[in-house]
Protein backbone atom coordinates (compact mmCIF):
# COMPACT_ATOMS: atom_id res chain seq x y z
CA UNK A 1 0.00 0.00 0.00
CA UNK A 2 2.76 2.39 1.00
CA UNK A 3 4.41 1.43 -2.26
CA UNK A 4 1.24 2.41 -4.12
CA UNK A 5 1.01 5.84 -2.53
CA UNK A 6 4.65 6.50 -3.35
CA UNK A 7 4.13 5.61 -7.00
CA UNK A 8 1.01 7.78 -7.06
CA UNK A 9 3.01 10.71 -5.74
CA UNK A 10 5.80 10.06 -8.22
CA UNK A 11 3.35 9.78 -11.10
CA UNK A 12 1.72 13.07 -10.13
CA UNK A 13 5.14 14.66 -9.92
CA UNK A 14 5.97 13.36 -13.41
CA UNK A 15 2.84 15.04 -14.78
CA UNK A 16 3.78 18.30 -13.06
CA UNK A 17 7.43 18.30 -14.16
CA UNK A 18 6.63 17.49 -17.79
CA UNK A 19 5.00 20.91 -18.13
CA UNK A 20 8.39 22.63 -17.62
CA UNK A 21 9.37 20.23 -19.42
CA UNK A 22 11.50 18.15 -17.11
CA UNK A 23 11.74 14.46 -16.09
CA UNK A 24 11.74 12.99 -12.60
CA UNK A 25 15.22 11.50 -13.10
CA UNK A 26 16.48 14.67 -14.79
CA UNK A 27 16.88 13.02 -18.18
CA UNK A 28 16.32 14.93 -21.40
CA UNK A 29 12.95 14.15 -23.01
CA UNK A 30 14.63 12.02 -25.65
CA UNK A 31 17.40 10.51 -23.56
CA UNK A 32 17.69 6.80 -22.76
CA UNK A 33 18.76 5.53 -19.36
CA UNK A 34 22.21 3.91 -19.30
CA UNK A 35 22.38 0.49 -20.96
CA UNK A 36 24.50 -2.42 -19.72
CA UNK A 37 24.90 -5.44 -21.98
CA UNK A 38 26.11 -8.87 -20.84
CA UNK A 39 26.13 -11.47 -23.61
CA UNK A 40 26.77 -15.18 -23.06
CA UNK A 41 24.88 -15.05 -19.77
CA UNK A 42 23.78 -18.70 -19.96
CA UNK A 43 26.06 -21.42 -21.28
CA UNK A 44 23.19 -23.84 -21.76
CA UNK A 45 21.52 -21.36 -24.12
CA UNK A 46 22.64 -21.25 -27.75
CA UNK A 47 22.75 -17.50 -27.34
CA UNK A 48 21.90 -15.26 -24.41
CA UNK A 49 22.03 -11.70 -23.21
CA UNK A 50 21.20 -9.77 -20.06
CA UNK A 51 20.31 -6.11 -20.46
CA UNK A 52 20.12 -3.50 -17.74
CA UNK A 53 18.27 -0.41 -19.00
CA UNK A 54 18.52 1.79 -15.95
CA UNK A 55 17.16 -0.54 -13.27
CA UNK A 56 15.09 -2.57 -15.72
CA UNK A 57 16.64 -6.03 -15.90
CA UNK A 58 15.89 -8.45 -18.74
CA UNK A 59 17.42 -11.81 -19.61
CA UNK A 60 16.90 -13.41 -23.00
CA UNK A 61 18.02 -16.87 -24.00
CA UNK A 62 17.89 -18.50 -27.42
CA UNK A 63 17.52 -22.18 -28.16
CA UNK A 64 17.60 -23.55 -31.70
CA UNK A 65 15.68 -26.70 -32.38
CA UNK A 66 14.78 -28.80 -35.40
CA UNK A 67 11.15 -29.22 -36.41
CA UNK A 68 8.97 -29.81 -39.44
CA UNK A 69 8.47 -26.63 -41.51
CA UNK A 70 4.97 -25.16 -41.85
CA UNK A 71 3.21 -26.68 -44.89
CA UNK A 72 2.88 -23.26 -46.59
CA UNK A 73 6.62 -22.47 -46.19
CA UNK A 74 8.29 -25.87 -46.68
CA UNK A 75 11.73 -24.35 -47.27
CA UNK A 76 11.78 -22.06 -44.25
CA UNK A 77 12.44 -22.16 -40.52
CA UNK A 78 11.03 -19.56 -38.18
CA UNK A 79 11.29 -17.81 -34.83
CA UNK A 80 9.09 -18.09 -31.73
CA UNK A 81 9.21 -15.40 -29.08
CA UNK A 82 7.93 -15.96 -25.52
CA UNK A 83 7.92 -13.53 -22.63
CA UNK A 84 7.50 -14.02 -18.92
CA UNK A 85 6.86 -11.17 -16.49
CA UNK A 86 8.47 -12.97 -13.56
CA UNK A 87 6.82 -12.32 -10.19
CA UNK A 88 10.16 -11.17 -8.77
CA UNK A 89 10.14 -8.26 -11.24
CA UNK A 90 7.37 -6.27 -9.61
CA UNK A 91 5.05 -6.47 -6.61
CA UNK A 92 2.11 -6.63 -9.03
CA UNK A 93 3.22 -9.52 -11.26
CA UNK A 94 1.79 -12.89 -10.36
CA UNK A 95 3.05 -16.40 -11.11
CA UNK A 96 1.18 -18.20 -13.85
CA UNK A 97 0.88 -18.42 -17.62
CA UNK A 98 1.62 -15.27 -19.67
CA UNK A 99 -1.08 -12.61 -19.38
CA UNK A 100 -2.17 -10.00 -21.95
CA UNK A 101 0.84 -7.79 -21.23
CA UNK A 102 3.40 -10.56 -21.60
CA UNK A 103 1.68 -11.78 -24.77
CA UNK A 104 1.72 -8.30 -26.33
CA UNK A 105 5.39 -7.82 -25.37
CA UNK A 106 6.43 -11.12 -26.94
CA UNK A 107 4.47 -10.54 -30.13
CA UNK A 108 5.73 -7.00 -30.72
CA UNK A 109 9.37 -8.08 -30.21
CA UNK A 110 8.64 -10.99 -32.56
CA UNK A 111 7.29 -8.74 -35.32
CA UNK A 112 10.11 -6.22 -34.95
CA UNK A 113 12.66 -8.99 -35.64
CA UNK A 114 10.67 -11.15 -38.05
CA UNK A 115 9.48 -8.38 -40.36
CA UNK A 116 12.92 -6.73 -40.51
CA UNK A 117 14.08 -9.89 -42.31
CA UNK A 118 17.30 -9.70 -40.28
CA UNK A 119 17.13 -13.50 -40.16
CA UNK A 120 16.72 -15.21 -43.52
CA UNK A 121 14.22 -17.94 -42.75
CA UNK A 122 15.19 -19.78 -45.93
CA UNK A 123 18.69 -20.23 -44.55
CA UNK A 124 17.15 -22.09 -41.61
CA UNK A 125 15.93 -24.87 -43.90
CA UNK A 126 17.68 -28.21 -43.43
CA UNK A 127 15.65 -30.63 -45.56
CA UNK A 128 12.80 -29.10 -47.53
CA UNK A 129 9.34 -29.93 -46.14
CA UNK A 130 10.98 -32.13 -43.51
CA UNK A 131 13.39 -30.32 -41.24
CA UNK A 132 14.25 -26.72 -40.48
CA UNK A 133 15.70 -24.71 -37.62
CA UNK A 134 13.24 -23.02 -35.31
CA UNK A 135 14.65 -20.33 -33.06
CA UNK A 136 13.07 -20.04 -29.61
CA UNK A 137 13.68 -16.61 -28.12
CA UNK A 138 12.58 -16.52 -24.48
CA UNK A 139 12.37 -13.21 -22.63
CA UNK A 140 12.48 -13.14 -18.82
CA UNK A 141 11.76 -9.86 -17.05
CA UNK A 142 13.72 -9.88 -13.76
CA UNK A 143 13.09 -6.28 -12.70
CA UNK A 144 10.50 -3.94 -14.15
CA UNK A 145 11.68 -0.36 -13.84
CA UNK A 146 9.88 0.67 -17.01
CA UNK A 147 10.08 0.27 -20.81
CA UNK A 148 10.09 -3.50 -21.05
CA UNK A 149 9.61 -3.26 -24.83
CA UNK A 150 12.96 -1.65 -25.58
CA UNK A 151 14.85 -3.58 -22.92
CA UNK A 152 13.44 -6.86 -24.29
CA UNK A 153 14.18 -5.88 -27.86
CA UNK A 154 17.78 -4.99 -26.93
CA UNK A 155 18.22 -8.26 -25.04
CA UNK A 156 16.68 -10.29 -27.86
CA UNK A 157 19.01 -8.67 -30.37
CA UNK A 158 21.98 -9.23 -28.06
CA UNK A 159 21.05 -12.89 -27.62
CA UNK A 160 20.60 -13.45 -31.36
CA UNK A 161 23.98 -11.83 -32.07
CA UNK A 162 25.41 -14.27 -29.52
CA UNK A 163 23.69 -17.32 -31.03
CA UNK A 164 25.71 -20.27 -32.27
CA UNK A 165 24.10 -22.86 -34.53
CA UNK A 166 24.35 -26.39 -33.10
CA UNK A 167 26.34 -28.83 -35.20
CA UNK A 168 24.40 -31.37 -37.21
CA UNK A 169 25.30 -34.98 -37.94
CA UNK A 170 22.84 -36.89 -40.12
CA UNK A 171 20.49 -33.94 -39.60
CA UNK A 172 20.53 -34.49 -35.84
CA UNK A 173 21.91 -32.06 -33.25
CA UNK A 174 25.31 -32.93 -31.75
CA UNK A 175 25.05 -31.64 -28.20
CA UNK A 176 27.55 -29.03 -27.09
CA UNK A 177 29.10 -28.56 -30.55
CA UNK A 178 28.43 -25.71 -32.93
CA UNK A 179 28.79 -25.18 -36.65
CA UNK A 180 28.99 -21.39 -36.63
CA UNK A 181 27.18 -18.22 -35.72
CA UNK A 182 23.60 -17.36 -36.59
CA UNK A 183 23.62 -14.82 -39.41
CA UNK A 184 21.88 -11.49 -38.78
CA UNK A 185 21.81 -9.14 -41.76
CA UNK A 186 20.69 -6.13 -39.71
CA UNK A 187 19.94 -5.03 -36.17
CA UNK A 188 16.22 -4.43 -35.64
CA UNK A 189 15.35 -2.56 -32.45
CA UNK A 190 12.24 -1.11 -30.83
CA UNK A 191 12.13 2.49 -29.66
CA UNK A 192 9.31 3.30 -27.30
CA UNK A 193 7.70 6.65 -26.54
CA UNK A 194 5.28 7.70 -23.86
CA UNK A 195 2.80 10.54 -24.15
CA UNK A 196 2.45 12.32 -20.82
CA UNK A 197 0.23 15.34 -20.47
CA UNK A 198 0.52 15.91 -24.22
CA UNK A 199 4.34 15.70 -24.23
CA UNK A 200 6.40 12.90 -25.79
CA UNK A 201 9.35 11.26 -24.00
CA UNK A 202 11.48 8.28 -24.93
CA UNK A 203 12.30 5.24 -22.72
CA UNK A 204 9.69 5.80 -19.99
CA UNK A 205 10.61 4.71 -16.46
CA UNK A 206 7.99 3.19 -14.14
CA UNK A 207 6.67 6.46 -12.75
CA UNK A 208 6.37 7.79 -16.28
CA UNK A 209 4.48 4.70 -17.41
CA UNK A 210 2.07 5.25 -14.55
CA UNK A 211 1.64 8.86 -15.64
CA UNK A 212 1.38 8.27 -19.39
CA UNK A 213 -1.77 8.33 -21.51
CA UNK A 214 -0.43 6.21 -24.31
CA UNK A 215 2.62 4.39 -25.57
CA UNK A 216 4.05 4.02 -29.06
CA UNK A 217 6.73 1.48 -29.99
CA UNK A 218 8.45 1.63 -33.35
CA UNK A 219 10.70 -1.10 -34.74
CA UNK A 220 13.45 0.18 -36.99
CA UNK A 221 16.55 -1.03 -38.83
CA UNK A 222 19.79 0.75 -39.74
CA UNK A 223 18.53 1.14 -43.33
CA UNK A 224 15.96 3.69 -42.03
CA UNK A 225 13.11 1.27 -42.52
CA UNK A 226 10.40 0.46 -40.02
CA UNK A 227 9.45 -3.16 -39.33
CA UNK A 228 6.80 -2.78 -36.60
CA UNK A 229 4.59 -0.29 -34.81
CA UNK A 230 2.40 -0.77 -31.77
CA UNK A 231 0.31 1.75 -29.94
CA UNK A 232 -0.59 0.83 -26.36
CA UNK A 233 -2.51 2.37 -23.50
CA UNK A 234 -5.94 3.95 -23.36
CA UNK A 235 -4.85 7.33 -24.77
CA UNK A 236 -4.41 8.49 -28.36
CA UNK A 237 -1.82 10.03 -30.67
CA UNK A 238 -2.17 12.66 -33.36
CA UNK A 239 -0.63 12.20 -36.78
CA UNK A 240 1.97 14.88 -36.00
CA UNK A 241 2.99 13.10 -32.79
CA UNK A 242 3.39 9.80 -34.58
CA UNK A 243 5.54 11.42 -37.27
CA UNK A 244 7.73 13.02 -34.59
CA UNK A 245 8.17 9.64 -32.92
CA UNK A 246 9.18 8.03 -36.21
CA UNK A 247 11.93 10.62 -36.75
CA UNK A 248 13.19 10.14 -33.22
CA UNK A 249 13.00 6.35 -33.42
CA UNK A 250 15.51 6.25 -36.27
CA UNK A 251 17.80 8.61 -34.37
CA UNK A 252 17.68 6.90 -30.96
CA UNK A 253 17.89 3.34 -32.29
CA UNK A 254 21.04 4.23 -34.19
CA UNK A 255 22.63 5.29 -30.91
CA UNK A 256 21.58 2.01 -29.28
CA UNK A 257 22.83 -0.09 -32.17
CA UNK A 258 26.34 1.26 -31.59
CA UNK A 259 26.37 -0.58 -28.27
CA UNK A 260 26.59 -3.87 -30.16
CA UNK A 261 30.02 -4.13 -31.73
CA UNK A 262 29.52 -7.29 -33.79
CA UNK A 263 27.35 -8.08 -36.80
Amino acid sequence: MRDDILWELRSDKVKELIKIPQRLDNRELFEYRPVQIETGFSKNAHGSCRIRLGETDVIVGVKMDIAEPYPDCPDEGSITVGAELMPMASPVFEPGPPDQNATELARVVDRCIRESKAIDFKKLSIVEAEKAWFIFIDIYIANDAGNLFDASSLAALGALLDTKIPKLEDDKIVKGEYSGKLELSKKPLLTTFAKINGKIVVDPATAEEKAMDARLSIGTTEETLMSAMQKGGTGSFTQAEIEQCIELAFQKSDELRKLFKVG
Partner: protein, 268 residues
Protein backbone atom coordinates in the same frame (compact mmCIF):
# COMPACT_ATOMS: atom_id res chain seq x y z
CA UNK B 1 4.74 -20.09 -59.20
CA UNK B 2 2.75 -17.75 -61.39
CA UNK B 3 3.24 -14.05 -60.82
CA UNK B 4 0.15 -12.46 -59.22
CA UNK B 5 -0.97 -9.16 -60.77
CA UNK B 6 -1.96 -7.17 -57.68
CA UNK B 7 -2.99 -4.08 -59.64
CA UNK B 8 -3.88 -4.33 -63.32
CA UNK B 9 -3.37 -1.78 -66.07
CA UNK B 10 -6.74 -0.22 -65.27
CA UNK B 11 -5.70 0.34 -61.65
CA UNK B 12 -8.00 -2.45 -60.42
CA UNK B 13 -7.04 -4.93 -57.71
CA UNK B 14 -7.49 -8.71 -57.63
CA UNK B 15 -11.10 -8.38 -56.49
CA UNK B 16 -11.85 -5.47 -58.81
CA UNK B 17 -11.51 -2.71 -56.24
CA UNK B 18 -9.56 0.52 -56.69
CA UNK B 19 -6.57 1.19 -54.43
CA UNK B 20 -8.58 3.44 -52.12
CA UNK B 21 -11.74 1.37 -52.08
CA UNK B 22 -13.14 -0.52 -49.11
CA UNK B 23 -14.85 -3.89 -49.47
CA UNK B 24 -18.66 -3.78 -49.04
CA UNK B 25 -19.61 -3.29 -45.39
CA UNK B 26 -22.98 -4.09 -43.79
CA UNK B 27 -23.68 -3.35 -40.13
CA UNK B 28 -26.85 -4.29 -38.24
CA UNK B 29 -27.23 -3.15 -34.62
CA UNK B 30 -29.46 -4.88 -32.02
CA UNK B 31 -29.29 -8.44 -33.28
CA UNK B 32 -29.01 -10.37 -30.00
CA UNK B 33 -31.87 -10.19 -27.52
CA UNK B 34 -29.99 -11.34 -24.40
CA UNK B 35 -27.08 -8.89 -24.74
CA UNK B 36 -27.53 -5.28 -23.63
CA UNK B 37 -26.09 -4.05 -26.90
CA UNK B 38 -25.12 -5.93 -30.04
CA UNK B 39 -24.18 -5.67 -33.67
CA UNK B 40 -23.61 -7.91 -36.65
CA UNK B 41 -21.09 -6.93 -39.31
CA UNK B 42 -20.27 -8.23 -42.77
CA UNK B 43 -17.10 -6.70 -44.21
CA UNK B 44 -16.28 -8.42 -47.45
CA UNK B 45 -16.11 -12.10 -46.49
CA UNK B 46 -15.57 -11.24 -42.80
CA UNK B 47 -18.54 -11.93 -40.55
CA UNK B 48 -18.66 -11.04 -36.87
CA UNK B 49 -21.12 -10.78 -33.99
CA UNK B 50 -20.62 -8.50 -31.00
CA UNK B 51 -22.48 -8.57 -27.69
CA UNK B 52 -22.05 -5.91 -25.00
CA UNK B 53 -22.87 -6.14 -21.29
CA UNK B 54 -22.51 -3.45 -18.67
CA UNK B 55 -21.52 -1.29 -17.04
CA UNK B 56 -22.00 -4.05 -14.45
CA UNK B 57 -20.33 -4.70 -11.11
CA UNK B 58 -16.78 -5.99 -11.58
CA UNK B 59 -16.36 -9.43 -9.96
CA UNK B 60 -14.31 -10.49 -8.03
CA UNK B 61 -14.25 -7.25 -6.06
CA UNK B 62 -10.45 -6.96 -5.97
CA UNK B 63 -10.31 -6.26 -9.71
CA UNK B 64 -12.56 -3.20 -9.33
CA UNK B 65 -11.10 0.19 -10.20
CA UNK B 66 -12.68 2.91 -8.02
CA UNK B 67 -11.78 5.57 -10.60
CA UNK B 68 -13.29 4.04 -13.75
CA UNK B 69 -14.96 1.19 -15.59
CA UNK B 70 -12.75 -1.64 -16.85
CA UNK B 71 -13.20 -2.24 -20.57
CA UNK B 72 -13.01 -5.98 -21.11
CA UNK B 73 -12.77 -6.75 -24.81
CA UNK B 74 -12.70 -10.40 -25.82
CA UNK B 75 -11.90 -11.14 -29.48
CA UNK B 76 -12.28 -14.76 -30.55
CA UNK B 77 -12.42 -16.68 -33.82
CA UNK B 78 -14.65 -19.66 -34.55
CA UNK B 79 -12.76 -22.86 -35.33
CA UNK B 80 -14.11 -22.89 -38.89
CA UNK B 81 -13.59 -19.18 -39.64
CA UNK B 82 -10.14 -19.71 -41.17
CA UNK B 83 -8.77 -21.95 -43.95
CA UNK B 84 -7.26 -24.49 -41.49
CA UNK B 85 -9.32 -25.45 -38.45
CA UNK B 86 -8.33 -23.25 -35.51
CA UNK B 87 -8.00 -24.72 -32.05
CA UNK B 88 -11.00 -23.74 -29.86
CA UNK B 89 -8.55 -22.35 -27.26
CA UNK B 90 -7.76 -18.63 -27.53
CA UNK B 91 -4.37 -18.12 -29.18
CA UNK B 92 -1.77 -15.43 -28.55
CA UNK B 93 -2.94 -13.42 -31.55
CA UNK B 94 -6.48 -13.30 -30.16
CA UNK B 95 -5.16 -12.20 -26.76
CA UNK B 96 -3.10 -9.37 -28.22
CA UNK B 97 -5.95 -8.13 -30.42
CA UNK B 98 -8.28 -8.18 -27.40
CA UNK B 99 -5.85 -5.99 -25.48
CA UNK B 100 -5.24 -3.29 -28.09
CA UNK B 101 -8.89 -3.18 -29.17
CA UNK B 102 -10.09 -2.75 -25.59
CA UNK B 103 -7.59 0.08 -25.10
CA UNK B 104 -8.83 1.75 -28.28
CA UNK B 105 -12.45 1.70 -27.11
CA UNK B 106 -11.55 2.78 -23.55
CA UNK B 107 -10.46 6.16 -24.95
CA UNK B 108 -13.91 6.69 -26.51
CA UNK B 109 -16.08 5.51 -23.60
CA UNK B 110 -16.71 7.82 -20.64
CA UNK B 111 -15.21 5.15 -18.36
CA UNK B 112 -14.75 7.60 -15.48
CA UNK B 113 -18.53 7.76 -15.06
CA UNK B 114 -18.81 4.11 -14.05
CA UNK B 115 -16.33 3.31 -11.27
CA UNK B 116 -16.06 -0.28 -9.99
CA UNK B 117 -17.73 -1.73 -13.06
CA UNK B 118 -16.78 -3.69 -16.15
CA UNK B 119 -18.01 -3.11 -19.65
CA UNK B 120 -17.76 -6.51 -21.35
CA UNK B 121 -17.48 -6.59 -25.11
CA UNK B 122 -17.55 -10.07 -26.62
CA UNK B 123 -16.62 -10.39 -30.28
CA UNK B 124 -16.72 -13.53 -32.35
CA UNK B 125 -15.50 -13.94 -35.92
CA UNK B 126 -17.40 -16.54 -37.97
CA UNK B 127 -15.78 -16.03 -41.34
CA UNK B 128 -12.57 -14.23 -42.18
CA UNK B 129 -10.55 -12.82 -45.03
CA UNK B 130 -8.08 -10.23 -43.63
CA UNK B 131 -9.04 -7.21 -41.56
CA UNK B 132 -11.13 -8.98 -38.92
CA UNK B 133 -9.77 -6.93 -36.00
CA UNK B 134 -10.88 -3.71 -37.75
CA UNK B 135 -14.28 -5.15 -38.64
CA UNK B 136 -14.73 -6.33 -35.07
CA UNK B 137 -13.73 -3.00 -33.55
CA UNK B 138 -16.03 -1.14 -35.91
CA UNK B 139 -18.95 -3.38 -34.97
CA UNK B 140 -18.09 -3.23 -31.27
CA UNK B 141 -18.33 0.53 -31.31
CA UNK B 142 -21.82 0.28 -32.84
CA UNK B 143 -22.81 -2.33 -30.25
CA UNK B 144 -21.67 0.01 -27.47
CA UNK B 145 -23.86 2.76 -28.91
CA UNK B 146 -26.70 0.21 -29.14
CA UNK B 147 -26.21 -0.55 -25.44
CA UNK B 148 -26.58 3.15 -24.71
CA UNK B 149 -23.09 3.45 -23.22
CA UNK B 150 -22.04 7.13 -23.36
CA UNK B 151 -19.09 7.74 -25.71
CA UNK B 152 -17.02 10.73 -26.83
CA UNK B 153 -17.26 9.47 -30.41
CA UNK B 154 -17.54 6.23 -32.31
CA UNK B 155 -14.32 4.35 -33.04
CA UNK B 156 -13.85 3.63 -36.73
CA UNK B 157 -11.25 1.20 -37.95
CA UNK B 158 -9.75 -0.07 -41.14
CA UNK B 159 -6.46 -1.48 -42.32
CA UNK B 160 -4.16 -0.19 -44.99
CA UNK B 161 -1.39 -2.19 -46.62
CA UNK B 162 1.08 -2.68 -49.40
CA UNK B 163 1.33 -5.32 -52.08
CA UNK B 164 3.74 -5.32 -55.02
CA UNK B 165 4.73 -1.77 -54.18
CA UNK B 166 1.16 -0.42 -54.16
CA UNK B 167 -0.27 1.23 -51.06
CA UNK B 168 -3.89 0.09 -50.82
CA UNK B 169 -6.86 0.40 -48.53
CA UNK B 170 -8.39 -2.57 -46.73
CA UNK B 171 -6.20 -5.38 -48.13
CA UNK B 172 -7.73 -8.81 -48.66
CA UNK B 173 -5.99 -12.07 -47.70
CA UNK B 174 -4.19 -12.50 -51.01
CA UNK B 175 -2.83 -8.96 -50.81
CA UNK B 176 -1.78 -9.51 -47.20
CA UNK B 177 0.28 -12.49 -48.39
CA UNK B 178 2.29 -10.51 -50.98
CA UNK B 179 6.04 -10.95 -50.59
CA UNK B 180 6.52 -7.24 -49.80
CA UNK B 181 3.31 -7.00 -47.76
CA UNK B 182 2.85 -4.37 -45.10
CA UNK B 183 -0.22 -4.47 -42.87
CA UNK B 184 -1.30 -1.52 -40.75
CA UNK B 185 -4.57 -1.76 -38.80
CA UNK B 186 -5.72 1.68 -37.73
CA UNK B 187 -8.57 3.04 -35.62
CA UNK B 188 -9.50 6.63 -34.91
CA UNK B 189 -12.15 8.73 -33.25
CA UNK B 190 -13.21 10.36 -36.50
CA UNK B 191 -14.31 13.75 -35.20
CA UNK B 192 -10.87 14.58 -33.75
CA UNK B 193 -8.80 12.19 -35.88
CA UNK B 194 -7.15 10.92 -32.70
CA UNK B 195 -5.46 7.58 -33.34
CA UNK B 196 -6.62 5.03 -30.77
CA UNK B 197 -5.31 1.87 -32.43
CA UNK B 198 -2.17 1.59 -34.50
CA UNK B 199 -0.22 -1.54 -35.32
CA UNK B 200 2.10 -2.21 -38.23
CA UNK B 201 4.12 -5.06 -39.54
CA UNK B 202 6.19 -5.34 -42.68
CA UNK B 203 9.20 -3.32 -43.75
CA UNK B 204 8.48 0.23 -44.90
CA UNK B 205 10.11 3.62 -45.37
CA UNK B 206 8.97 6.82 -43.66
CA UNK B 207 7.61 8.23 -46.90
CA UNK B 208 5.58 5.20 -47.84
CA UNK B 209 4.31 4.95 -44.29
CA UNK B 210 2.95 8.48 -44.45
CA UNK B 211 1.13 7.77 -47.70
CA UNK B 212 -0.34 4.61 -46.21
CA UNK B 213 -1.33 6.30 -42.96
CA UNK B 214 -3.21 9.08 -44.73
CA UNK B 215 -5.03 6.60 -46.95
CA UNK B 216 -5.97 4.74 -43.79
CA UNK B 217 -7.39 7.86 -42.21
CA UNK B 218 -9.64 8.35 -45.24
CA UNK B 219 -10.79 4.74 -44.97
CA UNK B 220 -11.71 5.21 -41.33
CA UNK B 221 -13.81 8.25 -42.23
CA UNK B 222 -15.72 6.16 -44.78
CA UNK B 223 -16.28 3.47 -42.16
CA UNK B 224 -17.57 6.19 -39.81
CA UNK B 225 -20.22 7.11 -42.39
CA UNK B 226 -21.36 3.49 -42.61
CA UNK B 227 -21.53 3.18 -38.82
CA UNK B 228 -23.61 6.34 -38.51
CA UNK B 229 -25.99 5.19 -41.22
CA UNK B 230 -26.48 1.86 -39.45
CA UNK B 231 -27.23 3.58 -36.17
CA UNK B 232 -29.49 6.15 -37.82
CA UNK B 233 -31.52 3.38 -39.39
CA UNK B 234 -31.88 1.95 -35.93
CA UNK B 235 -32.95 5.24 -34.37
CA UNK B 236 -35.56 5.67 -37.06
CA UNK B 237 -36.99 2.40 -35.84
CA UNK B 238 -37.04 3.80 -32.35
CA UNK B 239 -40.42 5.49 -32.53
CA UNK B 240 -41.86 2.11 -33.39
CA UNK B 241 -39.72 0.35 -30.78
CA UNK B 242 -40.70 2.84 -28.13
CA UNK B 243 -44.34 2.36 -28.79
CA UNK B 244 -43.74 -1.37 -28.35
CA UNK B 245 -41.77 -0.77 -25.17
CA UNK B 246 -44.57 1.26 -23.61
CA UNK B 247 -47.02 -1.46 -24.50
CA UNK B 248 -44.65 -4.01 -22.90
CA UNK B 249 -44.38 -2.05 -19.67
CA UNK B 250 -48.14 -1.67 -19.56
CA UNK B 251 -48.43 -5.42 -19.92
CA UNK B 252 -45.91 -6.00 -17.12
CA UNK B 253 -47.78 -3.62 -14.82
CA UNK B 254 -51.00 -5.36 -15.67
CA UNK B 255 -49.39 -8.73 -14.90
CA UNK B 256 -48.23 -7.48 -11.54
CA UNK B 257 -51.52 -5.85 -10.67
CA UNK B 258 -53.26 -9.12 -11.50
CA UNK B 259 -50.68 -11.11 -9.54
CA UNK B 260 -49.60 -8.88 -6.67
CA UNK B 261 -48.12 -11.91 -4.91
CA UNK B 262 -45.36 -11.97 -7.55
CA UNK B 263 -43.81 -8.85 -6.07
CA UNK B 264 -43.43 -10.63 -2.79
CA UNK B 265 -41.87 -13.69 -4.52
CA UNK B 266 -38.26 -14.79 -4.07
CA UNK B 267 -35.59 -12.89 -5.93
CA UNK B 268 -32.85 -15.35 -6.61
Amino acid sequence: MEEIVYVNTEGKRIDGRKLDELRPIKIIPSVLSRAEGSAYIEWGQNKALVGVFGPREAIPQHIQDPTKAIVNYVYRMATFSVPDRKSPKPGRREIEISKVSGEALAKAIFVERFPNTTIDIYVHIFDSNAGTRCAALTAASVALADAGIPMRDLVSACAVGRAAGHIMLDPCKEEEDASDAVDMPLAIMPRTKEVVLLQMDGIISKEEWKKAFELGLKGCQQVYGIQKKALKRKYEEIAEEEAKAIEHVDKQLKEISENPELLRGGNK
